[in-house]
Structures are given as structure tokens and as C-alpha cells.
């Protein structure tokens, strides 16, 4: 076995790319949950984003259009969930599961003519001199634009939730929908917009998987990334900054185990493939163990049904 083949700089660079899809999806879900809605369909929206983004990018030759189209399709799919839970008052857990199952099936259906194709290349930024700097160059200036966009989105979501009036209203709806309704806020409309945002972010994260991370389309390629994003929201205690840390932690574990597999560690690769899921469980346990702290940031109306009687 040869550990020297694993370069720390290359490891961190690939870690950031590996974290980007779950970071995007987790930020979207964070906003959804802050509005008091639990959408378990992240996995389904991600895979729809992955396939739609892939098809758009291959057809038009532009990865950028792929990301946009992936986000649009993710948001469209999330509207099924929005109608079911907001207008038809269906159980959110069951509706979210349905969204995931439908999304996985429908994505496979859309994509079955597209497997084995290479998507157009999405180039990393290349700033003369800066990118060529040793260590700092690849770490700070060598990523593709989506990595920077995902980090920017951390700040945008934080700013929106904590520094804008609209963000305050959204949080109010998530904390107590009856009070927010009594104050005249449109609970259902706000929640539907949040769900749509969550869908778009998950779709964009999915498109990143199929366009940059893998990069190709295969059935079921999200392999639980959407569920890890959901766990990440709990890990982050509904705070965008912590979602970034969490995503990079999970990305790190994923990349490290892949590197260990490649380096030929003498245990079955199947055991190494388990690690991201096991780490998710362990982190979830640690974060949930302190009940008082865990419930401090959780939106009080999370997952509850809302029906305006007047």
C-alpha cells in the first residue's frame, strides 16, 4: 500500500468538489425547514436535477445551461410536494418519500438514452500567476465556478435568514404558523416559495454530480447524497455556516475513503464505501444527544400541518 500517492493538496481540492452537491442541497433544505416544512424528497429532486442538467448540457453544449435547467427541474418536481402538502394537507414524511421514489424512477426513465455519454467539460477557473502559486494556488484559485457559487450561497442564505425582513418572516412562519397567519403573512405562499428554492438548490447540486463530479449519467447516481444533505441540516443545527463545515467533513470522508480504496488498503472496498454513511449516523447521534440544544434551533412548526380556518 502506498499512502504517499495521496497528496494533501489534491485531497482538499477534490474534497471541495465532493462537498459541493451536498452543500447546495443542504442549504436549500435548510431554508425549507426554516419555513416549517420537512421535505424528505431531496434525493429525488437531486437526481432529477442530475438527469435534466445532464440532458440540457449535452444538448446545448453549455454546462451553465445544464445547471440552470437542473435547478428549474428540481424546483418543478418540488412543486408536486408543495401542492400535496400545502394545498392537500398530505403527510409531509410520506409525500417526501413519494417524491424521492418518483424522482428516482422518473430520472432513470428520462436518462436511459443518455448513459455512457460524456458531458461538455466544465472548466476550472484559471487566473494567470495566482492559480500557479504553490499550494495556495490550487486551494484558493483552482476550482470550478460552482464551488465558489456554493460558498457564496452559504453567505446569501445566512444573510437572507438573519439580516432581511423576508428572512425574518420566513422564520416566523416556521416557528409558529398560526401566529404568522394571524399577523397577515401568507403562510402557504411563503412555504411554497421556500419549497421551490429547496428544489432548485437540490436540482443544481444534482446537476453538479452528473456534470462535474462523476461526470456522466448513471441510474441512481446520487446514492444517498440527498439523504446525507438532510442529515447535514440537523448536523448544522439549521445554521448555514455549520452546513459548510459539515459538508466539507462529509466530503472529506468520501474523498479519503476513495483515495484509500485507490491506494489499495488491504480491506474490502465495500467496508470503505460504508464510511460516509456511518459517519453520518455518528454525527447525527452526537448532534441529537443533547435534546435541549438540538431543539433550540429547530423550527417549532417543523412538519406540522397548517390549515387556515378563517
Amino acid at each position: 500500500m502506498d499512502f504517499s500517492a495521496i497528496s494533501p493538496v489534491a485531497l482538499i481540492v477534490s474534497l471541495m468538489a465532493a462537498s459541493t452537491p451536498i452543500l447546495l442541497a443542504a442549504l436549500g433544505e435548510l431554508v425549507v425547514e426554516k419555513s416549517g416544512v420537512l421535505n424528505l424528497g431531496v434525493e429525488g429532486m437531486m437526481i432529477i436535477g442530475a438527469v435534466c442538467g445532464f440532458i440540457a448540457a449535452v444538448t446545448t453544449g453549455s454546462p451553465w445551461l445544464g445547471f440552470v435547467f437542473g435547478a428549474i427541474c428540481g424546483a418543478l418536481l418540488s412543486m408536486i410536494f408543495a401542492i400535496l402538502t400545502q394545498y392537500l394537507m398530505a403527510n409531509q414524511v410520506a409525500s417526501g418519500l413519494g417524491l424521492t421514489m418518483f424522482g428516482l424512477g422518473f430520472a432513470a426513465l428520462l436518462g436511459h438514452k443518455y448513459s455512457g455519454i460524456k458531458p461538455p467539460k466544465f472548466h476550472s477557473i484559471d487566473i494567470p500567476i495566482l492559480t500557479d502559486l504553490p499550494i495556495v494556488g490550487p486551494l484558493l484559485f483552482g476550482h470550478d465556478p460552482m464551488v465558489y457559487i456554493s460558498i457564496l450561497m452559504v453567505f446569501v442564505v445566512w444573510y437572507f435568514l438573519n439580516r432581511t425582513r423576508a428572512g425574518l418572516v420566513l422564520r416566523a412562519v416556521g416557528e409558529n404558523h398560526d401566529a404568522a397567519h394571524a399577523l397577515g403573512y401568507k403562510v402557504i405562499r411563503i412555504r411554497i416559495m421556500a419549497i421551490g428554492f429547496g428544489g432548485a438548490m437540490a436540482g443544481m447540486g444534482g446537476a453538479y454530480l452528473s456534470l462535474v463530479r462523476v461526470p456522466q449519467w448513471t441510474e441512481g447516481m446520487t446514492a444517498g447524497a440527498g439523504w446525507i444533505a438532510l442529515a447535514l441540516v440537523v448536523f448544522a443545527s439549521w445554521k448555514p455556516g455549520r452546513a459548510l463545515i459539515g459538508a466539507y467533513l462529509f466530503g472529506g470522508v468520501t474523498v479519503l475513503q476513495l483515495n484509500l480504496q485507490a491506494a489499495g488498503l488491504s480491506i474490502s472496498p465495500a467496508y470503505l464505501s460504508m464510511t460516509p454513511y456511518l459517519v453520518t449516523i455518528i454525527v447525527l447521534v452526537i448532534m441529537s444527544a443533547d435534546k435541549a440544544r438540538a431543539s433550540l434551533n429547530a423550527p417549532a412548526s417543523l412538519g406540522k400541518l397548517f390549515h387556515a380556518t378563517t
Binding site: I80, A90, L97, S273, M274, L284, A289, K291
Partner: protein
């Protein structure tokens, strides 16, 4: 404009009517989907829902399949339905299904080639134990550390699938399998093979276990204190504590029962229809069972019919794949759609739709 008006009491008629409405709506929406895929929607619907039972050419093969595919779905859905009623969301039945097959099947492989009538009962118990213990992980983490059982049980599906793959490439790999990642074939091991009990019916031990689960499940739910307790726990956690329900025990029981039943389903599947452990063994039955549980209204009798219907869509889907070149994934999308429609029309149970009259409220 339409307006929703709360019913004074949930409508019993709608409770029975809504699954039927949902199935019809799914057929229509599915027909549109098949038309978009370039197939005749009427032919597709006929192939999926009619031909597996009534077509003279294929039915002799497909009719027994109906019970074979329905058995694991119903067995798992009954276990899940208890938890879903009590708001304990075990969505990792797929993982418990795999672990039941690995533990039970692994025991059989360890006993090979010892032939005795006692072998089959032992591996049945081991299958249930495998699923039970796997489900106890989210249960204990929920009780001790308040960890979300949805996420933990789901993560464990991926862990179980990787464990299966480690087993069939390592200790459980068949010595006569020419290096393929699969175990010894169970139909070469008489004492452990879950054979068809009556030829051409699809009836095997798993089907008998499924039937027993329907009866026991129905009695437990409607006539036993346990059924009352989980129904109260689901409707109001606070009220249930006053009624003397121990919430932690409810979590452990709901996850334990569903895990054991999923483990049983996995064991009967691997020693019978699948006939060997391999990386292709998990087919997503654990996830489809969630749809079956809801389609059956979380009621064992309803689940029996829902499981048969879902089994029909699997078999019909395979036929449609074969005859119309409809991709396999279409049927998965179709099943997802069914769950959407079902959840959507559920509102008719508690609300009625009224035309909104103009005027001052």
C-alpha cells in the same frame, strides 16, 4: 372557487373509495406517460393490469409470480404500518431485508452440507433476528440519543448493501461459483431451500408467513391493547402518555417488529425466488413496501390487497418492458405516482370540497 370544508368526522366511505380513486387516477396519468414514451397507453395499461392474470399465453408463468412478489411486500408493509401509525418512521426496511437474508442465508451456508429438517426453522429464526437487530440500531439511537430514525434507518440501507457486497466477495462467496460475487445456490441445499409447496401456485413458506402476518396483524391492530396504544401514540403523543403508553417501548416495538418481518421477507426471498446471495439481490422491495403500507391504509387487510396490486404492477411492468420496450424505470415512476395520488386524494376523508359562495364571511 373551490373551498375545503372540514368534515365533522372522517368519512368511512371515502376511506375505502380513495385508494380506488388513486389507482384510477394513476392509470390515467400513467397512460399519458406511456403515450409520451411512444407506446399505446391502452395496450400498456392492459399489459400491466390485465395480461399477467388473464392472458392465456403468459398467465401460466405470471400468475404464480403474483404471490411470490406480493409476499415480501406484504410481510414488510404490515410491519411498517404499525410504526407509521405511531409516527415511528422506519424507512430502512430495505436494509433489514438485506440483513435478514445475509444472517439467515449465512447461517444456512455455514451449516452446509448438513441435511436435517431442523435447518430451515433455524435459518428462519436467524433471518428474523438479523432484521430485528438491524432495526434495533435506529431504535436504540432514537431512544438513547434522540437521533432521527428516518435518517439512521435509511443510512443503514447503504451500509447493509455494502456489507452484503463485502460478504459475497469474501466469506460467503461460492467456492464453486467461478469467482462471481455470489453465494452458493440454495436450490443445491435441500434442507435450506424455500421450495414451492404446490406446483405452479407460487406458494412457498414466505407466502404462508405473509398470510399469518395479515391475520395476526389484523387482530393485534383492532383487538389488542398494542394496536390501541400505537394508534393513540400516533394521534397524540401527550395523550398516549396519560393512557399509560411507554413511548420508548413503542419505538422499540415498532422498529423491532418491522425489522423482524423485513428480515423474514429477506430470508424467504434469498432461499427461494432469488436462490442466492449476490450484489443484485436487493431490488428495492423495502421501499415499495412503504407505498404498499400507505395504499393499504396502514391496515393489514388493506395491505394484503395493496401488495397484490403492487405485485401486479411489477409483473405487468416486466411484461410491458418485454413487449413494448418500456424502460424498467417507468414502473418505478408509476409506483411513485400512485403514492402521490393516494396522498393527494386522502384529503377527501377529512374534508369535503365545496363551491365557495361569494359574500361577506
Amino acid at each position: 372557487m373551490l373551498r375545503l370544508e372540514q368534515r365533522p368526522e372522517p368519512s368511512r366511505a371515502m376511506q375505502i373509495a380513495t385508494p380506488i380513486i388513486a389507482v384510477i387516477a394513476t392509470m390515467i396519468a400513467g397512460g399519458v406517460m406511456f403515450a409520451l414514451l411512444g407506446s399505446n397507453p391502452f395496450t400498456a395499461i392492459r399489459i400491466i393490469f390485465w395480461d399477467p392474470i388473464f392472458n392465456d399465453v403468459v398467465a401460466s408463468y405470471t400468475r404464480p409470480q403474483l404471490l411470490i412478489k406480493a409476499a415480501p411486500l406484504i410481510l414488510m408493509a404490515i410491519g411498517l404500518s404499525f410504526g407509521f401509525r405511531a409516527n415511528v418512521w422506519n424507512i430502512g426496511a430495505e436494509g433489514q431485508f438485506i440483513m435478514g437474508a445475509v444472517v439467515g442465508g449465512g447461517t444456512a451456508l455455514a451449516l452446509y452440507p448438513y441435511e436435517s429438517f431442523i435447518v430451515f426453522p433455524i435459518i428462519i429464526v436467524m433471518g428474523a433476528v438479523g432484521g430485528f437487530l438491524w432495526a434495533m440500531i435506529p431504535a436504540l439511537l432514537k431512544i438513547k440519543f434522540n437521533a432521527n430514525e428516518i435518517l439512521v434507518s435509511l443510512m443503514l440501507v447503504y451500509v447493509a448493501a455494502n456489507f452484503l457486497s463485502a460478504m459475497v466477495t469474501g466469506p460467503m462467496k461460492s467456492p464453486v461459483g467461478m469467482g462471481f460475487p455470489e453465494s452458493r445456490n440454495f436450490n443445491e441445499y435441500q434442507s435450506a431451500f424455500n421450495s414451492e409447496l404446490l406446483s405452479n401456485t407460487g406458494l412457498h413458506f414466505g407466502v404462508l408467513a405473509m398470510m399469518a402476518a395479515v391475520v395476526v396483524g389484523y387482530i393485534a391492530l383492532t383487538r389488542h391493547l398494542f394496536g390501541f396504544q400505537i394508534r393513540v401514540a400516533g394521534q397524540s403523543a401527550r395523550a398516549s402518555r396519560f393512557a399509560g403508553v411507554n413511548p420508548n417501548l413503542t419505538i422499540a416495538l415498532c422498529l423491532g417488529i418491522s425489522g423482524a418481518l423485513a428480515g423474514l421477507a429477506g430470508l424467504f426471498e434469498v432461499t427461494g425466488p432469488a436462490s442466492k446471495l449476490s450484489t443484485n439481490f436487493p431490488l428495492g422491495y423495502g421501499f415499495t413496501a412503504i407505498i404498499v403500507a400507505f395504499l393499504g391504509r396502514l391496515n393489514p387487510i388493506g395491505i394484503l390487497f395493496a401488495g397484490l396490486l403492487m405485485s401486479l404492477t411489477y409483473i405487468g411492468g416486466e411484461l410491458a418492458q418485454f413487449q413494448l420496450q418500456i424502460p424498467a424505470a417507468a414502473i418505478q415512476a408509476f409506483q411513485g405516482m400512485l403514492l402521490f395520488f393516494l396522498l393527494g386524494v386522502d384529503i377527501l376523508i377529512n374534508f369535503r370540497v365545496r363551491l365557495k359562495t361569494k359574500g361577506v364571511a
